[in-house]
């Protein structure tokens, strides 16, 4: 690999000589004078390397970081989890850090096998027959799922979406999908936080549910899927927290036809919101409508196992005019991290982390809801995230008190929906110790007093 070195005077002269020019000015002679910058650039003077490093370190210390300076209870689609060191160690190997698309099976066996393993584990986790590898993030995976449902249901154009689906995911659907292509209806949530289905009919292509949804509520997808099946409507289950399936029954097993969501929780850091990795799986019979790439396992003429990109005809590099989607990267390095994470923990490990998340969040939820002055926004069961509504004080007062204790107490829900004034979405993962939780409850008690 070529390293980056700036041009020397010698390099410049050599290039100018080749072009038959005597100076840079002469090279750019054809450009009009007014496009050139006049005077000096507004830059500070040069710094020593050490000085420069100190300068940027001082800048970075102005940031709050989830682990170091603040205890973060922020979730809402991006979750703080412990990442075993083996994930960094293996995924940073040079062989994997490539933007190269592994079309040539002959030289890509390692990458292809990693993708294959990722798909297999995702399919297992989501309880579906087949999973692709991989989408940009949960939001774009959901938009692709809706497009996929509309492809399968050629003659239907209505899409019903639970209002429990992440509001930013809904915005992504709106920007992906041509309004002439389908009619979107939103399903209001009841007290439990479950979407209210209207009378179903044969004009509906799919129903999108949240499992768990944006407010942390585990929507009853088995009942929804059962009703949908009677009208041949596809059920799409969408999640933001993949680790939930270490504890909950997989959405595919509960009757969801297409399952999509965010895989960040599986070994990828928060990193300011991305890049993340979208997970997407479906029933076997829809494999040809699944967008993106798919790595398959086969045997060569000698019977040795090998890996290839398969069913590529619906991807954009072959018959691109017929491609099922324009998705063109696979966030492969993030997918690799997810594969290493899942491979490291195994089924038992994921189950135990999921249980740990759930127990801590339930403890916090139960303790908080015993306090006067706040209530649960939705009553339905949740995994590691729940929404509360403050009745006696303002959210501003609450947040200030927590910030003074170096706690980011949750996400202000009014940011997503103005009707949710004074409501807070609180997330709790395995990264919070019992003392952390007790501290949270203590601060809550003080501020509500």
């Amino acid at each position: 690999m070529m390293r980056y070195f700036s041009l020397t005077e010698h390099d410049k002269k050599q290039m100018l000589d080749t072009l038959g020019k005597s100076s840079l000015e002469q090279l750019f002679l054809s450009l009009p004078e007014e496009v050139f910058h006049q005077g000096q650039l507004n830059l500070p003077s040069a710094k020593e390397e050490y000085e420069l490093q100190s300068y940027f370190e001082a800048m970075s210390h102005k940031n709050y970081s989830a682990q170091k300076s603040f205890k973060s209870y922020l979730g809402a689609g991006a979750y703080e989890h412990f990442i075993p060191y083996v994930v960094d160690a293996l995924s940073s190997r040079g062989e994997f850090t490539t933007a190269y698309t592994p079309y040539q099976a002959e030289i890509s066996q390692g990458t292809l096998q990693a993708i294959f393993e990722f798909q297999s584990m995702v399919a297992n986790l989501l309880g579906v027959g087949v999973a692709n590898a991989s989408m940009y993030d949960g939001a774009s995976a959901l938009a692709e799922a809706v497009l996929m449902a509309l492809r399968i249901q050629k003659k239907r154009s209505k899409v019903l979406i639970s209002q429990g689906v992440h509001p930013e995911y809904i915005k992504t659907i709106q920007s992906y999908i041509d309004p002439n292509q389908c009619e979107i209806h939103y399903l209001p949530l009841n007290q439990e936080g479950y979407p209210q289905l209207p009378e179903l009919d044969d004009s509906i292509a799919c129903v999108v549910t949240g499992y768990p949804n944006f407010y942390g509520v585990i929507e009853p997808i088995d009942q929804i899927a059962e009703q949908c099946k009677q009208h041949n409507i596809l059920t799409i289950a969408c999640f933001t927290e993949a680790l939930a399936f270490g504890l909950l029954k997989a959405p595919g097993e509960l009757g969801a036809d297409i399952v999509v969501g965010e895989g960040q929780s599986l070994g990828n850091p928060l990193s300011f919101g991305g890049p993340y990795v979208g997970l997407m799986g479906a029933d076997d019979k829809y494999v040809r409508q699944l967008p993106g790439r798919l790595a398959g396992q086969t045997v060569d003429a000698q019977g040795t196992p090998g890996y290839v990109l398969t069913l590529s005809t619906r991807e954009q590099h072959i018959r691109r005019q017929k491609a099922t989607s324009n998705i063109c990267t696979n966030h492969s390095l993030c997918a690799l991290r997810a594969a290493i994470y899942m491979g490291t923990l195994g089924q038992k490990g994921i189950e135990s982390i999921a249980l740990n998340n759930h127990e801590k969040a339930e403890y916090l939820k139960n303790e908080l809801t015993q306090l006067k002055g706040l209530e649960l926004l939705y009553q339905g069961p949740s995994f590691n995230e729940f929404a509360i509504k403050l009745n006696s004080i303002s959210l501003k007062q609450w947040q200030e008190a927590f910030e003074n204790n170096n706690i980011a107490s949750g996400v202000d829900l009014a940011r997503f929906d103005h009707r949710n004034k004074n409501c807070l979405l609180i997330n709790c993962t395995e990264t919070k110790t019992d003392d952390d939780l007790k501290h949270y409850i203590k601060v809550a008690k003080e501020v509500l007093k």
Binding site: K154, K155, R288, T313, I318, R319, K322
Partner: protein, 131 residues
Amino acid sequence: MDFPEDLYYTKEHEWVKLLESESAVLIGITEYAQEKLGDIVHVDLPDEEDEVHMNEPFGSIESVKAVSDVYAPVSGHVVENNSALLDSPEAVNDDPYEDGWLVKVEVESMDFAQELMDAEEYAEFIENEED
């Protein structure tokens, strides 16, 4: 190579069979086409009641080598598709003129026959194409 006398043929290597009792035709691909495609692994067909338009693609056939569009030799609407091919696409390889038929189309008019080749013309056409 077998090109039954009672069929009409297109330059895109589809065959058309007139069904005597009704104003519908059967459409498939020729033995020559299936042999060129190789092992067929998937067939994508229009739904019943879909319209097809002469010389426009109405479905596709995927082999281990490639995916090819299938062009409609007639205009009309689909009354039946050979859904058995979804489970056993290899029927197109094994028996392109019988079990491997693709769709049955109710045609708007019989004029299409003038545009198509008979078995003899088609055999000649292929011979020239091979050269």
